[in-house]
């Protein structure tokens, strides 16, 4: 009799176990919701974006390689032209140029904050960087429009709108992201590498350049790709300074466009289900796939860094 009671007590779920189970169910529900939302977004963008190809009969290769973009009017070939190459080129140009310009500044600032003046440098620069991250992109765009564009116009001539202006604005926008991730990467370099290097007779600069930066390369690359992902997806600020001409840019100061700028300026003016609208969704699909690629690159670099 007593044994049965003990057995029953042992087999009964404890209060703690029940709470545990409930907690697990709640967190699983949250994760499931997020996954569902992501899948829904992918499905929606893909179904709309792919409609251009199977519904409106546009060739995928022509979409990616043709240079003229006029989905709302009949072109010389008797049908609307949906060549997205100018936007793809525009997006990649501003992204890569912004990353190229931002990287040396980010590494310099990060080294100053970590290795050179780690106490007061970080104290002053960290809030500045946090502030820069928090500034809305429309403010960056406005400053680009009223300062950068006129400056380029004065120096190089032309309208001032174009890839160069976009690069400048994006450079400032991604600088804090890349800097703070570079700072994290440098902080993650174990201090015993620094001691080992110093004990071998390295100067501080030798230790920094040959050991710390080298060991931090995977982290720094991750930061750069993060910055590029942000630059690639930025719409408003770029739209304000790039000129919004859907043609292949001839140089850095001729008006151009990016995937995002065409999307934001066009999506409100088209009818759902029409070719114009579907073509914009195709651009969105390209954007989404590129974000995915950036993500995979980040994971790949991170994985390689962990292995070493």
């Amino acid at each position: 009799m007593q044994e049965d009671q003990i057995r029953a007590a042992m087999l009964r779920k404890s209060r703690a176990a029940k709470i545990e189970q409930r907690g697990r169910a709640i967190s699983f529900a949250c994760i499931a919701l997020i996954v569902l939302v992501v899948i829904a977004i992918f499905y929606f963008v893909a179904s709309k974006g792919l409609a251009t190809f199977y519904h409106n009969g546009v060739n995928v290769w022509e979409f990616l390689s043709k240079k003229s973009w006029s989905p709302s009017t009949i072109g010389p070939h008797g049908k609307p032209e949906v060549g997205a190459l100018p936007m793809i080129v525009g997006s990649f140009s501003v992204t890569f140029l912004a990353a190229v310009v931002a990287t040396p500044f980010a590494i310099g600032a990060a080294l100053f904050m970590t290795e050179i003046a780690s106490n007061w440098g970080a104290k002053i620069l960290q809030p500045v960087i946090d502030l820069l991250v928090g500034i809305p992109s429309v403010v960056y765009g406005f400053i680009g429009l009223s300062v950068v564009v006129p400056a380029i116009r004065n120096v190089f001539g032309g309208t001032g709108f174009g890839i160069l202006a976009g690069t400048f604005v994006l450079f400032v926008m991604i600088l804090p992201t890349v800097t703070s991730m570079t700072v994290d990467a440098i902080h993650a370099v174990p201090s015993y590498y620094r001691s080992a290097s110093a004990a071998l007779g390295a100067t501080r600069w030798q230790t920094t350049s040959r050991v710390v930066l080298r060991a931090a390369v995977p982290g720094i690359l991750t930061g750069i790709v993060f910055g590029m992902a942000r630059a690639f997806g930025e719409a408003l600020a770029v739209q304000m300074v790039i000129g919004n001409a859907a043609m292949l840019p001839k140089n850095l100061i001729s008006p151009a466009s990016t995937l995002t700028s065409v999307l934001t300026s066009g999506i409100g003016n088209t009818v759902m289900g029409s070719l114009e609208n579907n073509a914009l969704w195709s651009l969105a699909l390209v954007l989404l796939l590129m974000s995915l690629v950036f993500n995979l690159v980040i994971r790949w670099i991170g994985g390689r860094g962990a292995l070493k």
Partner: protein, 253 residues
């Protein structure tokens, strides 16, 4: 056999902020001998070791007074080139700390710092140093693989090769085997005994058997003071102080 003293120190005090970690230490290190610094945790033996290549300079708030000379030169003099000093006095740390580079790049790191670019010279030094550290045979086919792929004992010997490549006069070792298994430890000990011919070695160790096996002289540290220093045999067989006897017989520590 009497050797001339390569390092002499007189009345060395080391402070971390207000805390006096070393309270007036006098000790000399003869050339081509292995000196073991022993003592319980926190007695200051590692702290003392790190003053000899001025690694304590990197610790915020650390301050050293007294007179420490390497071949008669005051290493705490205002005009001492710390970078040069650390090339003459190499250091191996407790945790194996190879850089996350290839074995080759690790070993020639110090030479490249000195501006040596000649490939043949680097290759030669790499092989030489790895042989001296008794690890050449194990790694000669994987010189360009990451040093982090090696076992702890192998890493520690690559680290020793990295120090040897710079051809220092003195090698400081801060508990170099305490993170290793017994077999790796004894390999390191054998290596040290061979290196004694060419280098002066000062080793901090927790392991008293190790001190008695490999060292010519032993210094016993306790609470920031040297209690006793002398030939290892004398310290272990016939300690002059009660504290020394208590420590080596395992009564405290």
């Amino acid at each position: 056999m009497t050797h001339k003293n390569i390092i002499t120190s007189r009345d060395v005090h080391i402070y971390y902020g207000d805390f006096e970690a070393i309270k007036g230490v006098d000790i000399d290190f003869p050339e081509h001998e292995i000196t073991a610094l022993i003592g319980p945790s926190g007695c200051g033996k590692s702290t003392y070791l790190r003053t000899l290549d001025r690694m304590n300079d990197l610790v915020p708030g650390a301050r050293t007074t007294g007179d420490i000379r390497l071949n008669g030169e005051d290493i705490y003099a205002a005009n001492t080139d710390v970078v040069q000093l650390r090339k003459r006095v190499g250091m191996v740390f407790q945790q194996p700390n190879p850089f996350p580079f290839s074995i080759y790049d690790n070993v020639v790191y110090g030479l490249r710092l000195a501006g040596i670019r000649d490939r043949a010279m680097l290759d030669e030094a790499c092989e030489q140093s790895l042989k001296q550290a008794a690890i050449w045979d194990e790694v000669k086919d994987q010189l360009h693989d990451s040093a982090l792929g090696l076992s702890g004992g192998q890493q520690q010997r690559v680290v020793m090769a990295r120090v040897l490549a710079v051809q220092p006069e003195v090698i400081l070792l801060d508990e170099p085997t305490s993170a290793l298994d017994p077999i790796s430890s004894s390999q390191i000990e054998d290596t040290l005994l061979e290196l004694r011919e060419q280098y002066t070695i000062i080793i901090v160790t927790h392991n008293m058997q190790q001190a008695s096996r490999i060292s010519d002289r032993t210094a016993f540290f306790l609470q920031g003071n040297i209690i006793e220093v002398g030939p290892t045999k004398g310290i272990f067989m016939d300690p002059q102080h009660k504290e020394t006897e208590d420590y080596i017989s395992g009564r405290f520590g």
